[in-house]
Amino acid sequence: MISQTFKEAVSAVWSMVVGLKVTGRNFLQPQITVHYPRQVVTNLDTYRGHIELVAKDEDPFKAKCILCGQCENNCPSGCITIESVTRETPAPPAPEPAPGEEAKPAPKPKKVKELTQFMLDYNLCSLCGLCVQHCPVDSLRFSTDVYLAGFSRGEFEFELLEMLQKRGKK
């Protein structure tokens, strides 16, 4: 009984020494602080900033977006607003019917929807990522702007298409 108590006391004292060893070792190891603003972090692959549009492979000024509206519908915060126009492209001329066949009806003019504005109110966004998950053509992704800061709410209402085009110019 008494020897047990003393054994416990000795092991307790030893555990204190182990603790000192742990902090002592950390004391001697190099720092892991990144001295912002003189240094910036680089491991941003998994960082989830605000969403941004992904450009088409062939045209850096146009988004892959097909205007299905899934992101807008699925957003629980309602922070996405998409504006689009429908443009009619002139119909190709009807092909001449071959002899002995009925003339085909003339093809209708093709309607093309085009994205004009992709508004993101980042003040409301909860970064759940449902928009990114639901996009069928991978036109949305998280940005890696870890040092985003501003002075007013207005600065966090983003027009993503404009930002995409700005990126394309670079």
Partner: protein, 331 residues
Amino acid sequence: MPDMNTLLAGIPAELTRLVLALIGLMAFIGLNGLALVWVERKVAGHVQRRPGPYEVGPFGLIQPIVDAVKLVGKQLATPAGADKFLFWLAPLLSFLPIFLLFIPIPFSENLVGLNTNLGVLLILAFAGLNVLALCLAGWGQNNKWGLLGAGRAVAQSVAYEIPLLLAVLAVSFQTGSLSLAEITAKQGAWPWQWNIVVQPLAFFLYFICAVAETNRAPFDLPEAESELTAGFHTEYSGMGFGLFFLAEYANMIVVCSVATVLFLGGWQGPVEPGWWWFLIKMYALLVVIIWFRWTYPRVRFDQLLNLNWKWLLPLSMVNLLATAFAVKLFA
């Protein structure tokens, strides 16, 4: 320019020495307060793999001065319902006895304020005043956290003073003196000639009690930030808090100095004995105390008192009795 001797004629040499010592000690305590704050924050930073202060001045060396300026510049507010007299008496009472504690400490063979043969007694007697200051501070400020902190401070200090005394007494028994100069002189230059070799248990007990007496982590219950906001100094602003802070660091220096004298040979050292050996040993002990703070979590109050009454006190008693027997038998 009048001659120094005519200027000082009629003033006892002892008085001159004391005044000079006090002035020197003021500078020493003030500078050490600044230096130790810096060391504390640097050690804390590096233990946690951070840089610590590094913006203000080279390696952040100016940081404690800037902090001190901030403290001095702050308004001294007295809380409503506080006992104004006790409230403002407490920080002074905490800081003033510090000088008495430093006066008998021999920094080198001649560098001592007052060479008295009861130095140990003087230090142990006036170290107790700090508890009274903490008690008054907590009591006078009309704040429940302060009162709880004060209660803890009293229970803790009263408890830990006993094994501390017994550990010091063991060394006094062994050397047969209460004079710090004599205790230093009886030890040799090399580590194996120091008292710590003969009295390792006393040193161990003394050091634990010293950490507890100075209210340092892991025994910082009187000011436990996470439970009592700031304990006994919750309501103090500006230099009211600054004096408590300075007193805590000064007390750390005192306990480390006493440990240096009693157990580590004081100013004695290999090659060339002198005040530098004293300072090296003292600062090494201070760094260990700071190291403790950033290693151990705070103990619970029942653990604190259990440790004292069930372990430190019986062990120091046994140590003292064994020393007494050994002194009788072999000396």
